[in-house]
Amino acid sequence: MGRFWGSFVILLLVAASLPLAFMIGDLWPTRETERLLPFNLATYWNPFFIFVVPNMFFTGAIFFASGALSRKSIVIYTQGILLLVLYIGTSSLLRDLEQKEIASLLDPFGVRALSFYVQYWTPGEQNTLQIPFEGYILYNRLLWVGVGIVILLINHFAFSFNVVRGSFFRTKAIKDQTNRIRPEETKIPVATQYTNFATHFGQLIKLTVFYFKMVFKEIPFLAIVIAGILLLLVNAINLNELFGTSSYPTTYTILGLLGSFNLFFLIIAVLYSGELVWKERSVNLNLIIDAMPMPDFISLISKFLGLLLVYIVLIAGLIVSGIFIQMSYGYYKFELGIYIGTMYTETLAFLVLYTLLSMFIHVMVNNKFLGFAVAVALFIIFDFMPQIGIEHSLFRFGSGGLETYSDMNVYGHFVLPFSWFKIYWLAFAALLFAIAVIFSSRGSEDVITMRWKAGKLRLTRPLMALIISSVALFVSTGFYIFYNTNVVNEYTNKDEREALQVDYEKTLKKFEFTPQPRITHINLKVDVFPSTRDFTAEGYFYLKNKTNAPISDIHIQENASSLVKTEKLEFNRKNGVKEKFDKFKYTIYHLADALQPGDSVRMDFKTVFKTNGFTETNASNTNVVYNGTFFNNLYFPTLGYNEGYEMSDDNDRKEKKLPAKERMMERNDPRGLSQSLFGDDADHVQFEIVLSTDKDQVAIAPGYLQKEWEEGNRKFFHYKMDAPMCNFFSIISARYEVKRDKWNDINLEVYHHKGHEYNIDKMMEGMKDALAYYSKNFSPYQYRQVRILEFPRYSNFAQSFANTIPFSEGIGFIAKIEDPDKDIDYPYYVTAHEVAHQWWGHQVMEAGVKGNAMLSESMSQYSALMVLKHKFTPEIIERYLKYELDRYLSGRAGERKKEQPLELVEGQGYIHYQKASLIFYALQDYISEDSVNAAFRRFNNQWRFKDSPYPTSADLLKEIRKVTPDSMQYLIKDMFQTITLFENKADSAFYKEKGKDKFEVTLYTTAEKVRADSAGIESPVAINDWIDIGVYGKSKAGKDSLIYLKKHKIIKKENQFKITVNSKPRKAGIDPLHKLIDRHSDDNSKGLVKKEK
């Protein structure tokens, strides 16, 4: 025991140096005072005592006890890895709303409990509050310290009774029997010794198999593998979840899941490459083996091959587990080719590279433990290299991944750079290996100079050939990659990109508000070449001066990508280039005769997008691809200064000496009011386009198909829009299957990848239900078609263009909606949301000012939610809202700048999507769905198809106010104009039986209301609110069902309610359906106890 406490104290002292160092850092004179909070001692030591000390106690106790009882270090290793699994495994549980509590208890280190506790802390609270020692944090700490104490006690008693017993597993001594055979008479037969190639090859095979078996017999190895597979299975419980709803376990989903084993692979690679390099020396057999007549490289290469065999078998095992997981989900579409194509290329290459590097390190360092330390340190350094400015993949060991796999585009264009980078790194690793062969210690020499002396003799012709060819390959592939990434393509690092951003802003910001004409007509011919990943676009815009003054300078911003070239840009009147900023691809054309107000000019241009060679995999363009091209009009010339190119993060701006900037214009800014959310290049435009693509693909843009024809190997599509639309259009080309349907006279189409039929019917239904609801409640649909188009999962979103909805294969298409009581049908829901944008965004374009997304996004959220409400059970809606609440509260916890009230939202998704769902759902609950719809309808009528000026959130609120009764007017301030939160709680509840079918429920509640500022600092406000009081009984199916729900006016914090119901009550609560935003929504209801008289 003394030993335990002694080492425990030393551990604590070592660990204490960390907070101490942070503290010193904080007190250091050069501290950036304006970015940091005032010094506070507790900030440093609270976490130490709540987390570090108990963790050290508990882990120390476990390791100490297991070490003392088993006397085997492998048991300790194995335990460490199991703890790691518990820790990582709980993180996957934490993602599921219903499992957060379990996760926070199970994590032995308390990290999950902490994140569970502080998950909704706003930035203001994170800055000011101390870690609390209560709730799940307290329970977690008590639990694991308790476990530690129990283990110590067990150890104490077990150990004192068993001192003499020795080890659990006693090795039996073998008796040295004298036997009848007389050794003296044995003749040693002559055996032929061969030293030819075949023999050496045989030795190689033999040793390879020997080392392979050796690794597989290691208990720690098996423990790591089992731990990794356990983690895999835990992670397999929640597959690719969205709203708690799983995806189909497609092969790429499973491959993503198998990726969680990579950590274990790395542990195995690092541990066993070292173990095997040291194998003979660790058992002291090295001198015998080293004196064997084998070529020098055989020992190392067989160790490498042995590990390779281990990896190959493990990968096969993982693939089998993957298939097993798929089967357990009832999914039988096994794509062995993809498994093999990914695991035996990307994963295996990663393992091979790290193994060879690690073996090289061990040989060169020639000290086992130092070798491990250097290897781990090096891997950490690799991770940090980008931070110190080493970004290029040529310098980042093992770089070049296969990136995202897409069912549509398969491995796409990533295969080429992947292959080149892997050849490059494998050549490098081969060189390392050759050097390792030279320097590997054979015999008893450890000093590097002596190893070199011996090594020189090993420079045989084959080894020299290996060195020369690997150097040649490394250098030549290096040059070839460099030629591709930096010569053929443009390469910039982070600093250069930032410098360009800064330069752009400093040079051109003065043109931000220079009046420009607006696009009124778009007529293009776009030829997409999927197989070479190119396109050319030629055509014209009509630009109209909509201002009151003549315009003579036209500012053209070309797309910043180096792949995009504008080959032609002409105006149909005399002009010249006034100023050209090549660096920014920004040109000012001067018209000889100024464009008079109301006058138009035609601008003809040709834009060419050309893919040359390859870039670094992470920098490659995923818009123009072999199958599933999807790009939008931002590739074409735009007008004027583009604010979007500026640096946005305030800390970065400060570093570059740029002033802090607002994310959006104020709501009353006339410049903002005059432009729509799609920018200031246009209001509504006439649109016509001819697309061509490869014969086996379909090309689609907004508009109605006029004509479709073939010419040679190309297929042509002519689309035309019959009414003005917004200046935002997509161009899509892919090999599609089409599902068609009709709603009234409207053509519905889902263009999808073959094999992704799972949810097409749900999407169709979503379109129909949405069109029906919106047409009835808001206004008629303005188009004659709606098309959903699947695109590869390089991005996960759906986006609404005029009558055209690109929809990522990663969301919805592979969602698995199985359990109607639990799964949220998000393919249906997302479809309804995107269709709603045809009203909110397309029919009514809003001004590009603060609060704009409340009009397009939030109104679409509400619209879709209403469609959902009429389709699914209240329980599903409640579940959906619970996720929205969680995502809103977590979203505000991660706010970087300031949280805005809904009416002033500045592109903050957690507000305009998640909070808006909650707010609008509550609003329609308080003032009725019809009233909200009436307000939306009036707002739509007033602004439909209008050009500048555009409406703002204030315009919608005006309509909402009109339909809100006086008693509820306060809601508008709470919901839209402030950040208001509630803390509702059921404190205690009981009921009395008052006679047959007559029960009196008494409920004590507390209700608090707070307002938060933009940093999340709260201040209480007096409560004077209508809040639901509900009582649950039991339905026939045995589920909770509401038998009483009514809004009560609550004017003080503590309240008592007496409610009479006529069936047996089970539960009662305040705001039981979570309509109000409440950070502890799970304490709103309480089970009832029966009280006799």
Binding site: I174, A191, T195, I288, A291, L457
Partner: protein, 296 residues
């Protein structure tokens, strides 16, 4: 075939000079390398076994330059290091077979016969399927000699093979060694004089990296014959005798030391002349004045 070592020098990184200008010629037959612990025996043997580099000097084995043509040496080498371990979870047959493969016995049938014979020869047949982790020191040592005999080596180097063996095991072991064919160079290093005396036709005494004596054990004994004197003294006298005479050994018998000294004449009356033993040669070189004579 002859093993010719010339002017071999080796200094370790820590400054210890393990070999000082070692020059030796070793013929076929058993050669004993005698010296105390740390004398440089293992260094020398490892260098011959291609496991260590020399700073200068040369080793020639027949036509083979041992220091550069390591591969050629290894083909005909059988080496048993002073200390070695085994894979504890592997049985003797498996490991011996494994080593035979590495030795180049690639014919499976021949290998099987060889392994069986070697295990028989080393009296490990009964324990052949037991994990080596359970072997006693003697059994392990015999396993070591079994592996050193794979593929009829022309050069066998056994480094302190008898250390830690009980007398019976040691006998068996030495018998085994002595059976090895005559056209083989066997170098046996030991700090036990008996080993050399019983087995070797030729020998060298080495201490602190230097060769102090080379020749046959018989010649060595002849060299000191008649010059070894013994006397029983008391403990208190020991210091003065040490100062006065060239004391080559002190042995306690019945609580009192018997000292041997080397002297051409009878040093004092009560010293008695004893027949020379190899041990006297050894001690005389290690501790005695002859060291100086030879160096000079």
């Amino acid at each position: 075939m002859q093993l010719v070592i010339q002017n071999l020098n080796k200094t370790y990184a820590n400054g210890v000079q393990a070999l000082k200008d070692v020059t030796l010629t070793i013929n076929q037959g058993m050669f004993g390398l005698l010296g105390p612990n740390g004398a440089g025996k293992s260094s020398l043997m490892r260098t011959i076994s291609t496991l260590q580099e020399a700073d200068s000097g040369s080793i020639q084995l027949g036509d083979i330059n041992v220091l550069t043509q390591k591969e050629e040496v290894r083909k005909i080498l059988g080496y048993l290091p002073q200390e070695f371990g085994v894979y504890p979870k592997i049985d003797a047959v498996t490991l011996l077979d494994h080593l035979a493969v590495l030795k180049g016995i690639s014919n499976k049938g021949e290998r099987k016969a060889l392994v069986e014979a070697l295990l028989n020869k080393t009296n490990l047949w009964q324990a052949r399927n037991k994990n080596l982790g359970g072997y006693s020191g003697g059994m392990k040592q015999r396993f070591g000699i079994a592996q050193a005999l794979i593929a009829n080596p022309k050069l066998i180097i056994v480094d302190e093979p008898t250390a830690g063996l009980d007398p019976a095991e040691r006998n068996r072991f030495l018998n085994l060694l002595s059976e090895i064919g005559e056209n083989t160079i066997v170098i046996l290093s030991t700090h036990i004089v008996e080993d050399v005396k019983e087995l070797c036709t030729d020998m060298a005494i080495i201490n602190k990296g230097q060769v102090l004596y080379k020749g046959s054990p018989l010649d060595a004994i002849a060299e000191v014959e008649g010059r070894v004197w013994k006397k029983r003294i008391t403990k208190s006298e020991l210091e003065s005798y040490r100062a006065k005479f060239n004391v080559i050994s002190e042995r306690m018998i019945g609580g009192n030391p018997i000292i041997s000294i080397l002297s051409d004449q009878q040093p004092e009356n009560d010293f008695e002349s004893v027949p020379a033993d190899l041990e006297d040669v050894y001690f005389s070189h290690i501790f005695g004045g002859m060291q100086k004579e030879i160096v000079a």
